[in-house]
């Protein structure tokens, strides 16, 4: 005896399938409708600073890290100083680090010429710190310092990791190539 699948059940199944696969198209949301939360946007990848370990410091030879760059809060959507330099927040995060109890990591920014140095702050127990800078081009430097000591005018400990800002990658064409007319070193490279 052949069992026939009832037609109405088949139709319902097809309808359920259609509902499941059809795209839900919304022009927007009326004020009464709630919508799902959106994926978080992170700081621009383009300006993110990759922290490269120096492989010199025990416990941090395989350290990884990055500096995420966002604009300081401003009513204009972007923040610059009175002189026009971008004022940015740098969110530093490190991983793969084992420190002695009397040591801490401290983040610094410095110009490529190393003539101005500013402490961003000590990394917390999650190996994170946030600071601000208005340097046009800068190196982000992570050093190993004595714990409990406020960062001074410059670092005293070994450099654990370092990375260059995106703007710091901007290179002179005057220093080499067909335009070579001045030594690269004049521009810090």
């Amino acid at each position: 005896m052949t069992r026939k699948f009832p037609l109405y059940l088949g139709s319902l199944a097809l309808l359920a399938l259609a509902v499941l696969v059809s795209p839900i198209v919304e022009a927007g949301s009326s004020p009464s409708e709630a919508t799902p939360e959106c994926a978080q946007v992170s700081s621009p990848d383009y300006y993110e600073i990759d922290l490269v370990t120096t492989r010199k410091v025990p416990g941090a030879r395989l350290a990884k890290g990055k500096g995420e760059v966002t604009y300081a809060a401003s009513p204009f959507g972007i923040s610059v100083s009175e002189e026009g330099s971008y004022l940015v927040n740098i969110d530093v995060s490190m991983s793969n680090v084992r420190l002695d109890e009397d040591k801490q990591l401290v983040a610094w920014v410095t110009t490529p010429q190393l003539d101005q140095i500013k402490a961003l702050g000590s990394l917390d127990e999650n190996l994170r710190v946030t600071g601000q800078t208005d340097f046009n081009k800068f190196l982000l430097v992570i050093t190993l310092e004595p714990k409990g000591k406020e960062p001074g005018a410059m670092w005293t400990g070994p450099v654990v990791s370092r990375g260059m800002s995106r703007s710091g990658l901007m290179h002179t064409m005057a220093g080499h190539g067909p335009f070579e007319s001045e030594p690269c070193a004049v521009y810090g490279y």
């Binding site: 004020p31 919508t35 959106c38 992170s42 621009p44 383009y46 604009y71 100083s81 009175e82 067909p178």
Partner: protein, 577 residues
């Protein structure tokens, strides 16, 4: 071999490889004198080398004699400049509900830095007349086109009826020379707005067709008290030893970066000065009408408090060290001049020397404020307080639950090129290590000048549908709250900041690169820096067919625009998505 030397040889090889033949063109070539039936011209207007003020790079081989692949145009070329009426400084036109203003666009004679130019003006004034009206009122503008190009007038920032938005081909036909059009303006929002053409803005707006609309509040104490209220319109213009530098006839030149001027203007003049009393608090209504330049405005140490942006007060007044204002944006700032001295208004930026790969500080004097004597009323205490604007907060409160909703539209800002000058292609391929968030000035004037709107097409890409620019026609309904996520793609051929403007509606910027905006105001234009993702939340209230676009004039006319349609709620099935 030294790695750097190898890199240098590689660069040289790339530059000199004969992959393309450069179409060298003689400077004085008759084929570039295109005659347009709408524009009577002399036969002798030819291209000349663009001003190279910002250029530090040695001229590339083969570029010296190149000119854009479009004809050159200047208004009134070959005519005696003295035959044009002299433009006069702007006047304030106070308009009551129901009033009518008759206003034209015409060719005028203007003197800038001691030199006379044929330019354009609304109402014969520079800037155009300042229309002042109360919030909630409605006025009529009877507009007549007396310039030798078709035009329209767009009332930037006003949430007016769609039929009067001034968009040729969408809301109206172009107003031809000698014709008229009646605009009905309504002012639902307090603040400073501006009006300008929406046809060949790169030419007409740059030549002086712009003016302000100041909408006064009807509530008492809406703003804190100040001693003076002053509109400041920021602009620039490109000139050389021969006068105004020509524009592209069939299509804009300077399509890559927009047309940066080399002479700064405030309210149409180069020597702006405001006389005040020492101790005065002055409210400046700042409007940026430049084709492409973003300004960073300072007042020589005087304290600045920003109180409002395009369409509303901020949630909280905020002290700032400078005012960053992109093309088409407005900011209302209170400035306290406590000392008796001359204050210099400057544009202070960090320009980029691409050749040397370095930042170079630059300041441009925009004007002066001369403070003497003593303020008649002391508003220093009121100025010192950064007010919390509960009315703005309450207005935005109704939208906070949408701040974290998923975007309704994802837009990518990018560019497509075709037959761009081969040297430009080569140099862009070489110089790719860093693109700044904002192009504050023109670092490569030759390459920029040579790029036309036919060769560089700026694109708004809908990432969800794959549609581009004017193929996009979003469908919304009145009452919708629409989130648009705008990403300025740094991997595009020539990423650059874009001031993104939405017609007919208002929006808030909710997030900048994932960081919530903690002090919002309603806007109609916002900067999208290179590499950034900006979330905007649009309050959709105004039915009709509208545009959204980059407000860099050359980018707009190189295609960087999209359409959206707002229907009444429940009006029927959506189309065009």
């Amino acid at each position: 071999m030294n790695a750097l030397r190898f890199a240098g040889l590689l660069v040289m090889a790339m530059l000199l490889l004969p992959a393309h033949q450069i179409q060298a063109q003689e400077m004085d070539h008759s084929m570039h004198m295109h005659h347009n039936h709408a524009m009577p011209m002399s036969d002798s207007l030819v291209w000349r080398m663009a001003p190279m003020d910002g250029m530090t790079m040695p001229m590339m081989p083969g570029m010296m004699d190149d000119i854009p692949d479009v004809g050159a145009f200047l208004p009134g070329f070959g005519m005696d400049v003295s035959m044009y009426p002299e433009a006069k400084p702007s006047e304030i036109i106070d308009m009551a509900d129901g009033d009518t203003l008759h206003m034209d666009a015409s060719l005028v004679r203007r003197t800038i830095d001691g030199r006379e130019y044929v330019m354009m003006a609304y109402g014969g004034m520079y800037p155009g007349p300042l229309i002042r009206a109360d919030r909630g009122s409605k006025v009529i503008v009877e507009f007549t086109n007396n310039i030798d190009m078709p035009t329209t007038v767009h009332w930037h920032g006003l949430r007016l009826d769609n039929a009067f938005d001034g968009i040729p081909g969408l809301t109206q036909d172009p107003v031809e020379t000698g014709e008229s059009f009646t605009y009905e303006l309504k002012f639902p929002d307090t603040g400073m707005y501006w009006y300008h053409p929406h046809m060949r803005e790169d030419v007409q707006q740059d030549l002086g067709l712009y003016g302000n609309m100041l909408v006064d509040p009807t509530e008492e104490g809406y703003y804190a008290p100040v001693n003076r209220e002053v509109p400041l319109i920021l602009d620039d213009i490109l000139v050389d030893a021969n006068g105004l530098f020509p524009y592209g006839e069939e299509a804009p030149t300077h399509a890559l970066m927009g047309r940066f001027g080399n002479v700064m203007l405030v309210n149409g003049i180069t020597d702006y000065n405001l006389d005040i009393q020492a101790g005065d608090v002055v409210r400046f209504y700042l409007t940026n009408v430049a084709n492409t330049r973003t300004f960073n405005v300072t007042f020589d140490g005087a304290r600045i408090k920003v109180i409002a942006d395009d369409v509303s007060k901020l949630e909280r007044e905020q002290f700032v060290s400078s005012v960053i204002i992109a093309p088409a944006e407005r900011y209302i700032v209170d400035v306290y001049f406590d000392e008796a001295r001359t204050y210099t208004i400057t544009n202070a930026i960090q320009a980029i020397d691409h050749f040397r790969g370095i930042f170079v500080p630059e300041t441009h004097q925009l004007g002066t404020v001369t403070a003497s004597g003593k303020a008649s009323e002391d508003y220093a205490e009121a100025f010192a307080e950064a007010r919390t604007n509960e009315d703005t907060i309450a207005d935005i409160d109704g939208f906070r639950r949408y701040f974290d909703k998923a975007p309704d539209h994802n837009l990518r800002l990018t560019i497509e090129t075709k037959d761009l000058h081969p040297m430009t292609m080569r140099m862009m391929e070489v110089d790719t290590l860093y693109f700044p968030p904002i192009e504050w000035s023109e670092g490569m004037p030759m390459m920029n000048w040579l790029s036309t709107g036919d060769e560089a097409r700026w694109v708004l890409l809908d990432e969800d549908t794959g549609k581009k620019s004017m193929d996009i026609n979003w469908q919304w309904e009145v009452g919708d709250v629409v989130k648009i996520r705008v990403f300025n793609d740094p991997s595009s051929f020539h990423p650059m900041n874009h001031p993104f403007h939405v017609h007919g509606q208002r929006f808030v910027v909710t997030h900048i690169d994932g960081v919530e905006n903690r002090n919002m105001g309603w806007k109609d234009t916002t900067i999208i820096p290179v590499g950034s993702t900006i979330d905007i939340l649009v309050d959709v209230t105004n039915p009709g067919k509208w545009m959204a676009h980059c407000h860099i004039a050359e980018h707009l006319h190189a295609g960087m625009m999209l359409g959206f349609e707002v229907r009444e709620r429940g009006a029927g099935p959506q189309a065009g998505r």
